[in-house]
């Protein structure tokens, strides 16, 4: 019989075996596998946030970076948000994208930072931050995104905000969308985007 009953096969370095101190030390290992395992073992532990935050600033392996962000995401507190915010300014698009995805999954913790991010002097940061409103309660997301597009001068930031509003916006967003379309009447795409957003939100033909 070629089929044999194998059953489970436990990890040799089961997370229960090593204490938190060993994992914290392993975060600084030169071996990426060791750092990966450490980040995975520390996931969700609030006391490990400072160490995870520090490890994130120097991590170069994309896989380990993902695991560190997942670990912070599972804590989901203010300190873990703060640890990931600098990644929104990273030169590497992969870092920015990974941070956005992790932050998007912790909308309650991110909410207090959103207004601040929308006021950032870097239009790339404002643009990325619009995605963070996507998983927030619709009334609050609508309020924040509308406040952004009221004064935003960069068409691509407005376009990104409108994209999120198309999914999460309430009818309260319609006046701001109309104004934005007027303001950028001669810019390609924006009037189209605003028109589509209004149609989807109101449920009526564009």
């Amino acid at each position: 019989m070629p089929l044999i009953k194998g059953g489970g096969k436990a990890a040799k370095d089961s997370p229960k075996d090593a204490g938190p101190a060993a994992h914290l030390a392993a975060l600084k290992s030169t071996d990426a596998d060791a750092r990966w395992s450490a980040a995975r073992a520390l996931a969700g532990q609030a006391s490990a946030v400072p160490a995870l935050a520090e490890a994130l600033t120097s991590e170069t392996a994309p896989r380990v970076r993902e695991a560190i962000m997942t670990a912070l995401m599972r804590v989901g507190d203010e300190a873990s948000v703060k640890a990931m915010l600098p990644c929104l300014r990273a030169d590497d698009a992969g870092v920015r994208g990974a941070a956005i995805e992790a932050l998007q999954s912790m909308p309650d913790a991110v909410a207090p930072f959103l207004q601040f991010l929308f006021g950032d002097s870097d239009s790339d940061v404002r643009l990325l931050a619009t995605e963070l409103a996507r998983n927030m309660p619709e009334a609050e997301a609508t309020r924040l995104l509308c406040a952004l597009i009221e004064n935003e001068s960069h068409p691509n930031v407005c376009a990104a905000a409108i994209d999120v509003l198309t999914e999460v916006g309430t009818r309260d967003a319609i006046p701001a969308l109309e104004k934005c379309a007027e303001r950028f009447a001669t810019t390609p795409f924006l009037p189209f985007a605003a028109k589509m957003a209004i149609a989807r939100i109101s449920g009526t033909e564009a």
Binding site: L3, I4, K5, G6, G7, G8, K16, T70, E167, G203
Partner: protein
């Protein structure tokens, strides 16, 4: 069930609302429907709005976005065929014997163990299908020790899997010859799978997003993880992907359901293209 003429006005939902819904569904699950499926979408939406007591599309959409009462799960169920039967999605089984196993055994000495995991395995059709398919279609089957594990979060399903009793519908894709050789007829329309097969597959309870649970399952060469990640939210998917990564040997493969894409979930795996299926591979290189 409400009967409505196919070409009449069947729904109060406007085209714009359907579009909004479809974009959300696509972003959230990866499922996408063309315009020609409008009737199908309307019917499902009407059903779910009625079931949740939503007076308008807007109120239903709010409830859906907030995933109140696990509405995303109910919605996905209404859009998918939740039937499980032997040799379902057999392109991946063919890909296993035509291509993936060749890559797996190239890294192993003859006589070594090959570990295959069916998770979630539900009532056992998938792990038994893997076993049957291997015995019927892989010439090298006797040269290796093949360990098949089936896991699920539902202990009742696992009990049924271990019993291995199935009705006609579950067996519809199997030839009479295979049924004759591997099943015992118990009753009219009731068959039990061969005792040897039942005894050779280990069934265990697992929660894909529980890292401690998942640490009990290591060194798999091939994982079938079909039609479950689609139900998870982004955060749970991310955790499940990291857990699955640790359960695979370097170079090992993972197969998802046909409407699922690991690329929507995690960059941990490489895409591997074979003639029969697109699957995902854990990189062989240790770092990075």
């Amino acid at each position: 069930m409400r009967m409505a003429p196919r070409d009449g006005p069947v729904s109060q939902i406007t085209p714009e609302e359907v579009q909004r819904f479809c974009e959300f569904l696509y972003r959230r699950t990866g499922m996408s429907f063309s315009e020609s499926k409008r009737y199908f979408i309307d019917r499902r939406l009407d059903e779910r709005m009625a079931a949740t007591g939503s007076p308008s599309f807007q109120s239903y959409f709010s409830l859906l976005r907030a995933d109140a009462e696990h509405e995303i799960e109910h919605l996905i169920n209404s859009f998918t065929v939740n039937e499980t039967y032997f040799y379902r999605e057999d392109a991946q089984l063919r890909c296993m014997t035509e291509d993936m196993l060749a890559g797996i055994v190239s890294r192993k000495p003859e006589g070594a163990s090959i570990r295959i995991w069916s998770v979630p395995c539900s009532t056992g059709e998938e792990p038994y299908s893997i076993a049957l398919w291997l015995m019927e279609n892989w010439p090298q089957v006797d040269a290796y020790n093949i360990e098949i594990v089936g896991s699920d979060i539902d202990t009742r399903a696992l009990k049924a899997a271990a019993e291995g009793i199935y009705g006609d519908r579950a067996l519809m894709r199997l030839s009479p010859d295979i049924i004759g050789r591997y099943f015992t007829k118990l009753d009219e329309g009731s068959y039990q799978i061969d005792e040897g097969l039942r005894g050779s597959i280990e069934f265990s309870r697992i929660n894909l997003i529980d890292s401690a649970d998942m640490a009990q399952q290591r060194d798999f060469d091939l994982i079938f993880c079909r039609n479950v990640l689609i139900y998870f939210d982004d955060a749970s998917r991310r955790v499940a992907a990291e857990n699955l990564y640790d359960c695979l040997t370097p170079g090992g493969y993972i197969c998802l359901g046909h409407s699922e894409s690991m690329s929507r979930i995690s960059p941990l795996f490489n895409v591997a293209r074979f003639p029969d299926a697109i699957v995902y591979q854990k990189p062989e290189a240790k770092n990075g």
